[in-house]
């Protein structure tokens, strides 16, 4: 029996090298590849779940003025909740952002029984009419989501951007005019106690230049049906001035009454039963808190 012993010629190592290079090339090409192609039309079919307590469900007409409910809504909703989107915008190629943030399900607690009770009392009649109870009337209510943002690693002279969604509270029948303004509270903390700040408002206000877009806003009713502009995107750009010392600061944003000419115009257009200025009720903190850690 003849036994041959082959001396290694180095070819296997060459093959390994070629495979590695091929893998690297494929990886490199992958980064240059055309983005995944979506089919938005089919994805935009209405996928809203039914909201029911016992045998009674919220009628479809409550949501009839809203954009379509995207198929991947739950994925985006979870992503926002877990802070997967740095800027809270540009969520998905499936649908525009407003298809997500204009859905009541985008916000915490809409599906709570207490909140759903309001909408379960709406009855859909014929020709786009609805009937609803009037013993109590929702006249004022709004909030932001997210309401707390922490920004770390900012240097003096740099800009930061925060996006939040200002929305009408549940069960509100009024158009609400407001102007968002920056505020600098003497103290504040995140709900979970992650960060706590004590500061001198008169000193801190000179460290930041805050630009809010849009600042003057008309929020539309959320009852008996959701109107298209019941939720709106707000972008806050903050410039940290060069003279800002290291430290953690709190920049707040909260609604006040709108400018008088805007208020008059909206009152004229909608009437005093339908329109109100925001700002009478405070909540003990700014509606949006931006904690800025300057390095």
């Amino acid at each position: 029996m003849k036994i041959e012993v082959k001396k290694s010629s180095g070819k296997p190592l060459t093959k390994i090298l070629l495979i590695i290079i091929a893998i690297l090339l494929v990886g490199a090409l992958g980064t240059l590849a055309v983005p995944k192609i979506f089919t938005p039309i089919s994805e935009l079919e209405n996928n809203r779940p039914k909201h029911c307590i016992d045998d009674k469900c919220v009628p479809d007409i409550v949501f009839s003025k809203l954009p379509s409910y995207p198929k991947n809504f739950d994925e985006i909703d979870l992503g926002v909740e877990y802070g997967k989107y740095y800027w809270n915008e540009h969520f998905s190629a499936v649908a525009p952002d407003e298809n997500y943030y204009k859905q009541p399900e985008f916000y915490p607690n809409f599906e709570n029984e207490e909140n759903l009770e309001y909408y379960l009392q709406v009855k859909e009649l014929d020709e786009g009419r609805v009937e609803y109870p009037t013993e109590r009337v929702g006249v004022s209510g709004y909030g932001t989501y997210p309401a707390d943002t922490v920004v770390k690693g900012i240097l003096p002279g740099e800009d930061l951007k925060v996006v939040t969604y200002l929305h009408t509270g549940w069960f509100i029948e009024k158009y609400q005019g407001m102007e968002l303004k920056p505020v600098f509270p003497s103290h504040g903390d995140t709900q979970q106690g992650m960060i706590s700040v004590v500061q001198e408002p008169d000193v801190v206000k000179d460290y930041f230049e805050v630009n809010i877009e849009p600042a003057v806003i008309l929020l539309e009713p959320s009852y008996p049906v959701f109107y298209p502009n019941w939720a709106q995107k707000v972008t806050i750009k903050v410039n940290v001035k060069e003279n800002t010392p290291k430290g953690t600061y709190l920049v707040g944003v909260t609604p006040f009454e709108p400018p008088a000419d805007k208020s008059e115009g909206w009152k004229y257009k909608y009437g005093i039963y339908a329109y109100t200025d925001a700002g009478m009720a405070g909540i003990g903190r700014p509606h949006l808190q931006i904690f800025v850690k300057v390095e």
Partner: protein, 195 residues
């Protein structure tokens, strides 16, 4: 030769790791954003008309109230005048079970509610808030009995986001020096009729 090839593999791997790091740097940033999924929304209701309303959905905000409140004094001086809503009907509050205001946090943040009037009140009227909390999750929450002025005063505190509502009553005292007729105080109206 073998050594050269091994070195080459090492160099390729090292370069690829460096390249990956550089690519990651393009997407990473020294600034870190942490978004906390909190929602500060609330709902404030006032007394409306009994029964129901029928509207077409193209008619937004066909409410029965302006959202304002008034105190109707039939004589002066008069104390503990109950607030009533201003609108298509007159609905007078009747204690904390049927209060002029109900505050309800509708997001996921417990809130302290405060109230203010648009303008400073005349010396002849004093307005007080009071009330109770209502619901299964009101541990640690409460409603203060306080005077309401033209700067925010905390009325209800630590109202939880679910199953807790602050029922807030407003009452007014009017002195003998009250003006006759309707006096508008921004979102507060006082109707006073001298004896």
């Amino acid at each position: 030769m073998k050594k050269t090839q091994t070195t080459f593999v090492f160099v390729v791997l090292t370069l690829s790791i460096i390249a990956t790091s550089v690519k990651a740097d393009n997407y990473g940033k020294s600034t870190v954003y942490v978004n906390i999924p909190s929602d500060t929304s609330f709902t404030l209701t006032v007394l409306g008309c009994s029964g129901s309303n029928i509207i077409g959905t193209t008619e937004g905000g066909a409410t029965s109230t302006t959202g304002d409140i008034s105190f109707n004094a039939t004589t002066t001086p008069e104390n503990n005048i109950n607030a009533q809503s201003v609108g298509a009907c007159t609905q007078l509050q009747s204690g904390a079970t049927n209060p002029i205001y109900q505050y309800d946090p509708t997001g996921n943040v417990p809130l302290n509610f405060s109230l203010r009037f648009e303008n400073a009140l005349p010396a002849w009227i004093t307005v007080r808030a009071g009330g109770v909390t209502y619901g299964a999750s009101c541990s640690g929450a409460g409603v203060n009995t306080v005077q309401i002025i033209n700067t925010y005063t905390t009325v209800a505190y630590n109202i939880a986001q679910a199953n807790c509502i602050a029922n807030v009553t407003l009452t007014a005292d009017v002195t003998a020096g009250a003006s006759a007729g309707i006096t508008s105080l921004g979102s507060l109206y006082s109707r006073s009729q001298k004896a």
